[in-house]
């Protein structure tokens, strides 16, 4: 307990940053993932190709490599300077969006074709069919796998430790500098991750209950 209480500043800062990185990445990867997922079911073959290429490229790249590209490569591109945390978030968003897209696509594919036909038959345009009928139903179908993707995202934030971004995964390195017991530190970090994941699981149950009726 002393390990925790004597270094509360580090734990609070680390986990606050982890939660921040997670929240921002989750929102943007969800938005980007839905767009990519819709591209993958587009009637236009070139749009589908864009979606497929994106998923294949990003999902097949190890996250650490992607982060390394952003941390080391991006500053050399001559674009506006961004801090490491922002770069890490961009890498997380691009990476996680490929998983969201695939989950989302399967959610759309699991919707009975009659839903689309009924929507088209009352005169909805393609965009309206997607946004009013398919996307909301796809969400209802994919709550459990989507939460799994977000749980992975939460833990993936720790990969940013390699690029001097202060977050939960970097707590142990700072603790060893302070001469604290590493095993106890890691156990505490794991414990707080466990709590956060339980929180996400609770969110999952809430949505599943809410949408159980339809």
């Amino acid at each position: 307990m002393d390990v925790l209480l004597n270094n509360l500043d580090l734990f609070v800062l680390g986990f606050a940053n982890t939660v921040l990185m997670f929240a921002v990445s989750a929102v943007f990867s969800l938005l980007l993932g839905v767009v990519i997922g819709v591209l993958r079911i587009s009637p236009s073959s070139s749009m589908r190709a864009v979606g497929t290429t994106y998923v294949n490229l990003l999902r097949n790249t190890p996250l650490a490599l992607l982060m390394m590209f952003f941390a080391l490569g991006y500053p050399k591109l001559g674009l506006p300077a961004l801090d490491y945390t922002t770069l890490a978030i961009i890498a997380l968003v691009l990476y996680t969006a490929s998983y969201v897209a695939e989950v989302f696509r399967s959610g759309i594919n699991s919707i009975h074709v009659g839903q689309t036909e009924a929507a088209r038959a009352i005169g909805l345009t393609f965009d309206q069919v997607i946004t009013v009928v398919l996307v909301p139903q796809a969400f209802r179908n994919v709550v459990p796998p989507l939460i799994s993707v977000f749980i992975a995202l939460l833990k993936n934030t720790t990969v940013a430790s390699g690029f001097s971004v202060m977050q939960a995964g970097a707590i142990s390195a700072n603790m060893s500098e302070r001469g604290e017991n590493l095993l106890a530190t890691l156990l505490w970090v794991a414990f707080f991750f466990f709590l956060l994941v339980m929180g996400l699981a609770a969110v999952q149950r809430k949505f599943e209950r809410k949408w159980a009726q339809s």
Partner: protein, 259 residues
């Protein structure tokens, strides 16, 4: 396949054509599912499409609002050739109501929202007006008391009546019914047919794919009998049911009326 005794289709009096089908053909790969289909549906006419399964009735019905594309030929609705997929086609579909075998109510929306969706999203009707309109049509089909439920909480017959209300709320000039009672439990068939009969009396133009011979006999102005992708016989219900001209139709009637 014996189609030698196909009678020539009587030249139709196109007094006021709403739907014109001209040499419509469709292939599913090698499978020729619609063969040179020519017919006309006049304004206010009730047409029943009947025939053995696999005859192409549903395909033909769905081709009229282009849910099914055709390989060759022309389809005109109200003088306009069916456009390609896009905004123009969507506009045209808004004027053509469709009722499906499997109801296809939007599973994530309440009954009321199902009926309001078209008027709000397509017709740009104000929400409050769309609500009133939706309730009026739900009342017309006898399910206004279910307005706030989800579709899955309703019986099949109720769901299908909501689907009819959803189509009618768009103020269509044509209604397509693709086997509207085939997925229903027997005791629910009549509640849906009653709604359709009442609609027929209002002068709505209707094309109905059906296995309900009683309905076809009572409500239809004309029977189109299809087999193997062709229109084999067209006649008034009285002519068709009392004196079918083809052996194909006689065989069919013998089987379905013997039950």
């Amino acid at each position: 396949m014996d189609l030698n005794n196909t009678v020539s289709i009587p030249s139709l009096t196109a007094t006021n054509p709403l739907v014109i089908l001209n040499k419509v053909n469709k292939f599913y790969g090698e499978n020729h599912v619609l063969r040179d289909v020519n017919t006309i549906v006049n304004r206010g006419e009730i047409v029943a499409l009947i025939g053995p399964s696999g005859a192409g009735k549903s395909t033909l019905c769905r081709a009229i609002n282009r849910l099914e594309t055709i390989s060759s030929g022309d389809i005109f609705i109200d003088g306009v050739a069916l456009p390609d997929e896009g905004r123009e086609l969507a506009t045209l579909r808004a004027d053509v109501g469709m009722v499906f075998q499997s109801f296809n109510l939007f599973a994530h929306k309440t009954v009321l929202e199902n009926v309001m969706l078209g008027p709000v999203m397509v017709r740009r009707t104000k929400k409050s007006d769309a609500r009133a309109l939706a309730l009026e049509h739900l009342d017309r089909v006898g399910v206004a008391d279910q307005a706030d439920k989800m579709p899955s909480q309703l019986s099949g017959g109720q769901q299908q009546r909501v689907a009819i209300a959803r189509a009618l709320a768009m103020g269509p000039k044509l209604m397509l019914f693709d086997e509207p009672t085939s997925a229903l439990d027997p005791e629910m068939v009549s509640e849906v047919l009653d709604v359709m009969l009442a609609l027929a009396k209002t002068g709505m133009t209707m094309v109905t794919v059906t296995h309900e011979m009683g309905f076809a006999r009572e409500a239809a102005d004309r029977i189109i009998f299809m087999a193997d992708g062709q229109i084999v016989e067209e006649a008034t219900p009285t002519e068709f049911f009392s004196a079918p001209k083809t052996t194909r139709a006689r065989d069919f009637l013998q089987k379905v009326l013997a039950r």
